[in-house]
């Protein structure tokens, strides 16, 4: 996705231009910028992903599922970091918090996956409202440190004072997930036509949520509301002078991104039937930062790509004979190189290369 300010008008202009010139690149650009095509691309993407992943990349379906879950987390995080320009170091609170909420809800209220998902996400949104309200009083590094503070506070809360709820250091083990809408066994197999591509229902469930999340993020970012986010990123003061209530928009961006983290966290609890305490630790927040930056901030698909790359290196490369013990180190080096040389991440790098080849529009 392109991310010039004022995308709506730019898209309209591109559409008009495409009609006149009809060049191949222009047509592609106008196709790419339409919502329906974004959704279609995502559907095709998540449908063929496990097939390609399992057959050509040494992957397995469980990892593919996990990649989509963290992908949702990262897409939401990017709304905050990439589009609004706020770096939160406490997003694990919403991911892990939602996972705990979903787990506890499933064990004590209802085991319906959709309700569990809803409960987890609602909890994340509520929490984000409070944490965002408090943290957004300061910008820049103070915001990063305040979110970090609330993140660590929740980790230590879950570790001991609230251990009667969260089961402390052992993690929450009594997650209980029932069947979807009372008929579909979420941990079961997939009926025939689909089974050529995917082998388990859980992946399908997560994939549907991924498509919905991407569609939602795309809709938000291409609305005037999303344009305000970008305006705040570019120049907060100017946005304020124009008459926008910057603080409110920042809080909303924070809550929206936490909602995505909540969806991802709930799915994480559903997927693993378990919530580890580490899902609240600040290095978990660091993980999503790395994924997003690695994949590409300010792009829709970059974070998904980053999540895939991170988890692939973590799970597949770590099994290699010689490279294995150094996987985290390799990731750190790749990350630093990305920050220094490719501020827009790998996805941004691909965009750049494509523009060089096709001669796309320069900013």
């Amino acid at each position: 996705m392109s991310d010039e300010p004022g995308d709506a008008t730019a898209t309209a202009a591109a559409d008009a231009e495409a009609e006149v010139t009809g060049g191949l690149a222009d047509r592609w650009a106008s196709f790419r910028d339409r919502e329906i095509s974004t959704v279609l691309l995502t559907v095709v993407g998540v449908a063929v992903f496990p097939f390609l992943f399992n057959n050509y990349l040494n992957g397995y379906t469980q990892l593919a599922t996990l990649i989509l879950i963290y992908g949702i987390f990262a897409v939401g995080f990017d709304i905050l970091l990439g589009y609004t320009g706020l770096l939160s170091f406490g997003h694990a609170v919403f991911f892990g918090g939602a996972a705990y909420a979903a787990g506890i809800f499933s064990a004590s209220v209802s085991s319906s996956p959709l309700l569990v998902l809803l409960a987890g996400t609602a909890f994340a949104v509520l929490l984000a409202w409070i944490v965002g309200f408090l943290s957004l009083r300061r910008g820049g590094i103070y915001f990063a440190i305040l979110t970090l503070t609330f993140g660590q506070m929740s980790f230590y809360l879950a570790a001991s004072p609230l251990a009667f709820l969260t089961n402390g250091e052992n993690g929450f083990t009594s997650v209980d997930i029932g069947s979807l809408l009372g008929v579909i066994d979420i941990h079961g197999g997939v009926p025939f036509p689909l089974s050529m591509l995917v082998d388990n229902m859980l992946y399908v469930f997560v994939a549907v949520m991924t498509v919905l999340s991407v569609a939602m993020a795309n809709r938000i970012l291409h609305s005037p509301y999303g344009t305000v986010f970008r305006a705040i990123r570019e120049n907060e003061r100017r946005a304020e002078f124009v008459g926008l209530d910057v603080w409110r928009y920042k809080l909303m961006a924070f809550i929206i991104s936490a909602a995505f983290a909540g969806i991802a966290g709930s799915l994480f609890a559903i997927e693993g039937n378990y919530v580890p305490l580490e899902s609240l630790y600040w290095t978990e927040s660091g993980r999503v930062v790395i994924m997003t930056v690695l994949g590409g901030v300010g792009s829709l698909f970059g974070p998904l790509f980053g999540a895939g790359l991170y988890l692939y290196i973590e799970n597949i490369v770590s099994g290699f004979e010689t490279l294995g013990p150094f996987w985290h180190l390799i990731l750190g080096i790749v990350f630093v190189v990305a920050v220094v040389l490719f501020p827009n991440g790998i996805w941004g790098g691909i965009d750049y290369l494509r523009d060089m080849v096709v001669g796309g529009e320069d900013e």
Binding site: L134, I141, I145, T149, F150, M153, F335, V339
Partner: protein, 312 residues
């Protein structure tokens, strides 16, 4: 009398607990205050200090990690603790200089989010390099023989000698840095540069060298913190990231760039933590310091001793 003894014990333990926070926070704070550089790799410097301290102090057996697999059974040169206390800061000082030259300088003009990201990445690299080479298990860091065992203090009774050592070393170092910044020409230039760099440059003073030295001093303090803090707990590759968050809290609670602030805040956090542990609320000891930090920042966003002007 026992109440008084209890209070004094808590205060002394708090002083010791806070001392490590203070050592880390003063370095972080002067770097953040003067260079406006957010160093998320400060914990990694602490980690380097701790492992380097181990290396210089004695012989450490290796039982996992790549070095062990390559057939190296132990590492260390066995020069003793005092040598570590002298050599580590010098080495980490140089590391700091290199970091300023090759990392920080390129990021002065980029947003602080980029600074956080790149130093966070560096911290991961250092931590994982150590983990890969030396293994992830905890190494005991022996206390220096001249400071092990208890010492009988008036009123308080027996108190671990090493904890007093930690307090004393911290006090000397922090006073030294404070004197350097407050009472020397070097400090004057640095402070003036913080307030109005442009003006200082117009007066014909090059700021790049003082800034370089400030970074080095900050780094060296983190390195010493590693050596001093090492014997208090085991050394493992995670201690850097574990110490970073409370250190940052100390900085922002105290007020960025304020050495006195870092001292006050560090002692506050340390004492609160010890107080909660010793009164039977150990489970809340970690939550407590974060809650206190959040509270202070909500009431006084610029920190306890920070000035209003600093608020960005």
């Amino acid at each position: 009398m026992t109440l008084l003894a209890d209070i004094l014990t808590i205060l002394l333990n708090g002083l010791q607990q806070g001392a490590i926070y203070v050592l880390l926070a003063v370095g972080l704070s002067i770097i953040l205050g003067t260079l406006k550089f957010v160093n998320f790799a400060h914990g990694a410097l602490y980690l380097v200090g701790a492992y380097l301290g181990l290396f210089i102090t004695g012989q450490v057996p290796l039982n996992n990690g790549q070095l062990a697999e390559w057939g190296i059974q132990s590492y260390g040169i066995g020069l003793g603790f005092v040598a570590a206390l002298i050599i580590v800061p010098i080495v980490v000082f140089v590391v700091g200089l290199l970091m300023e030259r090759f990392v920080a300088q390129a990021f002065y003009d980029r947003p602080d989010t980029d600074q956080i990201l790149v130093t966070f990445g560096l911290a991961i690299i250092v931590q994982e390099l150590l983990r890969a080479l030396l293994g992830g298990n905890s190494q005991p860091f022996p206390q220096p023989s001249w400071a092990s065992g208890p010492i009988a203090l008036p009123v308080v009774g027996n108190f671990p000698r090493w904890r007093l050592g930690v307090i004393a070393i911290t006090a000397v170092l922090v006073l030294g840095v404070y004197g350097l910044v407050e009472y020397t020409d070097f400090g004057l230039i640095v402070q003036a540069g913080t307030l109005d760099g442009e003006m200082v440059r117009l007066l014909g003073i090059k700021l790049s060298r003082p800034y370089l030295v400030v970074f080095g001093i900050g780094a060296a303090l983190a390195g010493v913190a590693g050596v001093v803090g090492g014997p208090l707990a085991n050394v493992n590759p995670n201690i850097g990231t574990e110490q970073l968050v409370p250190a940052f809290l100390t900085v922002v609670i105290g007020g960025v760039g304020k050495i006195e602030g870092a001292v006050v805040a560090g002692l506050m956090l340390g004492t609160l933590q010890v107080l909660l542990i010793q009164t039977g609320y150990a489970a809340w000891s970690q939550v407590g310091i974060y809650a206190l930090a959040a509270l202070v920042l909500l009431v006084r966003p610029q920190g306890l001793l920070g000035s209003e002007v600093d608020v960005s």
